[in-house]
């Protein structure tokens, strides 16, 4: 089970982005993916929930299995129950007029029952309960990010993918979001974060993948990968504080 990616390549018309990716993520992992901007992290993430190849135009080859399901054969709407996806910018994904409606959206799509109580539970998990009737536009950036997490949590996916969740957050909200992710991971969910901040990866993740120019150039435990001074310097990635002497 978990996620198995085999020899996946993807190109936008005239532009090779992913070049033969092999990756395994086990159930219950907290995986970090890092790499420079433009290395293909977001594109790789789109392969996990079927947006590639079903919705995004380009040339796809290889195999992605999520919980044993071949993403090329499953519809996005079915995969959405297994993989919750939080996009990089909350303003790209929040479109409802109230917090409550935003969380209920996915549940209505999959024809869930007890929508109201599922919405409430998801909001409690991210500490947004009491804000059901508010307009998402009036939330702070950190609250919007938490709303996006709640919106995918409500659908109870086994896997949660987050694309640079903290790139626009201050320190307190960052800690808050990672606290929530940690709690979810402990409750059995697989977490995959795309993250530039290697200090966060070393603290929270148990596996890390480094993507460079469309290939995974190194993977393993954060300690093994991120303390490799030579490699980190070559890639321009910051060595986490805990691994410095």
């Amino acid at each position: 089970m978990g996620i198995a990616i085999r020899n996946v390549s993807f190109s936008y018309p005239g532009k090779d982005i992913l070049k033969g990716i092999d990756m395994d993520i086990e159930d219950g992992d907290f995986a970090g993916i890092t790499g420079s901007t433009g290395s293909g992290k977001t594109t790789l993430a789109y392969c996990l929930n079927g947006l590639i190849p079903h919705s995004i135009r380009g040339k796809f080859s290889g195999k992605v299995h999520v919980n044993g399901f071949d993403t090329t054969k499953e519809k996005i709407s079915r995969l959405s129950r297994k993989v919750g996806f939080v996009f990089q910018d909350p303003d790209w994904q929040i479109f409802s007029l109230t917090v409550k409606d935003e969380v209920a959206f996915g549940l209505k799509n999959i024809g869930a029952r007890d929508i109201d109580s599922k919405v409430m539970n998801a909001l409690i998990m991210v500490e947004l309960d009491g804000m059901e009737e508010m307009m998402p536009q009036n939330l702070s950036h950190g609250q919007k990010q938490k709303l996006c997490i709640a919106s995918v949590l409500a659908m109870d996916p086994d896997i949660i993918v987050m694309d640079e969740p903290t790139s626009q957050l201050d320190y307190r909200s960052t800690m808050n979001v990672y606290g929530i992710l940690k709690k979810l991971n402990e409750s059995g969910k697989t977490i995959i974060v795309i993250e530039h901040n290697t200090d966060l990866i070393s603290e929270y993740a148990n596996r890390v993948f480094i993507l460079d120019n469309g290939t995974i150039i190194k993977e393993g435990s954060p300690k093994k990968v991120l303390s490799d001074r030579k490699l980190m310097e070559k890639l321009g990635i910051k060595i986490p504080w805990v691994y410095r002497k």
Partner: protein, 189 residues
């Protein structure tokens, strides 16, 4: 007022304005809806829109004046342009009134009797409005910071540098939005 009744009156009034182009009726509707914006004290939020709206109207009137009689100015064309603009003004003011005087939670309730796809599209467009407005303001400010003169009478010079990035960004955002909706199980793919 019950949001459904309000929505119904909005739709009824707007369709009447589109079906019956009576000049008197349209003028009255335009005046009344603008008046109501002041009566309900939501005009502070309406003001920033006035200038771009009027510029668009001037363009419509100018275009109509010469288009009706084949590239020469005609009063009849100008009159058509004016009527057309008034109609748009009345429609915009009505929609603005409706949105500004209805709390978000009631707004989503007002659409609940519509088929889900349609109410979803309505809510999506409504929720995009504030974002687009803020974006527009930011673009204007950044162009000003680069020395653009908004008093320039050449409207192509003043509005293109704002509208082009605004349009591009909004398009990009709606593309991402569509991915985000699919990622949460919306649609048949």
């Amino acid at each position: 007022m019950n949001p459904k009744i309000k929505l119904f009156s909005l739709v009824a009034l707007s369709s009447m304005m589109i079906i019956f182009p009576e000049p008197l009726f349209i003028a009255a509707a335009a005046v009344l809806s603008v008046a109501f914006i002041f009566i309900r004290r939501v005009h502070m939020r309406f003001m920033p829109w006035l200038k771009p709206i009027f510029i668009v109207f001037l363009m419509i009137i100018a275009f109509q004046s010469i288009a009706v009689s084949g590239l020469i100015f005609s009063l009849e064309g100008a009159y058509f342009g004016l009527l057309f603009s008034l109609r748009i003004l009345a429609l915009i003011s009505l929609v603005f009134l409706f949105v500004e005087t209805t709390p978000a939670s009631e707004l989503s309730g007002a659409f609940s009797f519509l088929p889900r796809d349609i109410s979803q599209i309505l809510m999506l467009s409504l929720s995009m409005v504030p974002g687009v407005a803020v974006l527009g303001e930011n673009i204007i400010n950044s162009q000003k910071a680069r020395g653009m003169n908004f008093m320039n009478p050449n409207i192509f010079r003043t509005y293109f540098p704002v509208l082009v990035p605004l349009f591009a960004k909004t398009l990009y955002r709606s593309e991402k939005m569509s991915l985000a909706m699919q990622a949460r199980g919306y649609g048949s793919s």
